[in-house]
Symmetry: C6
Subunit: 74 residues, 6 copies
């Protein structure tokens, strides 16, 4: 399964995303993703050291600024 | 709804944008967006810690330098 | 009007540009712009805190390193 | 062998990846790679000075933020 | 004249280039440029505060990491 | 000769590469390069102040994160 298909397979699940130049991690439910890895997430929160820092709600992330993403271990 | 369509759906609304390498957040009304997430915004202000820092007015933002954007909660 | 058309509409006018990783702002007259937002500007100066820092003259800016641009308020 | 083919040839092997703006190295087993060097890795760990720092498991890495990758010497 | 044509018009001339994340400026003679603004330069030197810091000779610069370039005022 | 052809012409030779966000220089023998300047190098070492810092061996470098490359003067 190619990387973009792997991301598609995470739609509807909770994921963690590290963005370029950001110290903190974003967690939320993946609503949609395109082939550039642009992401639409809802219920998004910014996490620092395991603590909620900020509630962002519905966000769009620009794919080229994603360092990595992975499914959230619950 | 794909991420670029989600952004299109925000045209006419107030949004918040985090840009790469910027400490501050930009707030303004989204006038137009293309598939690269290049944005045209008006009534744009730069916000730091909830305070207006600078009035920018009409601005064009380069999509690849957007970290994330979300609708402004009012 | 899409963001790239908005930029085209600024040809011949004085604009301000913030570049990635630059503290200072570039001001100059926009001569041409393409769809990647690569810009050719003349009479360009580097501005820091409202003061001219350096005269650059005719410059080409790489579009993907533009954070934002706006028409210069005169 | 072109660079993207070299990466394809590493599928199934353990690799090391340096990401842009990250101090630490990611190590894991390469599951898939596309022509943009987007990578899907499993059993991924974050390494600092030869020590495991964090277990990440299954991750997708955005190709344009990869500085370099090489096969892990065992 | 579009920005890429402006760069083409500088072939054979001495130019100055500011690269992303570099403190210093590169000066050299432009041998060739493509539409991505990848550049081949010869007799290239690294300049800091008007002083030669390092002689680089023949170099290839990746276009997307160029902040700006301009003809060298002699 | 366009910049990508210049790079092709260096295949089989020892080159130096400066990567974005890296303090150190990579030296190695260029095995292959594509039009995005993705590079495959072997016998790669990381150099700091003229001293070998780390042996990397066979590496793939992502083209968009290359600042500049030049043939190694021997």
């Amino acid at each position: 399964m190619f990387p973009n298909k792997k991301v598609q397979a995470l739609v509807g699940q909770k994921i963690q995303v590290e963005m370029k130049g950001e110290k903190n991690i974003l967690e939320g439910t993946l609503v949609s993703a395109d082939d550039y890895l642009n992401l639409h997430m809802v219920d998004t929160t910014e996490i620092q050291g395991g603590q909620k820092l900020r509630t962002l709600g519905s966000v769009v992330l620009r794919g080229n600024n994603i360092i990595l993403l992975n499914p959230l271990k619950e």
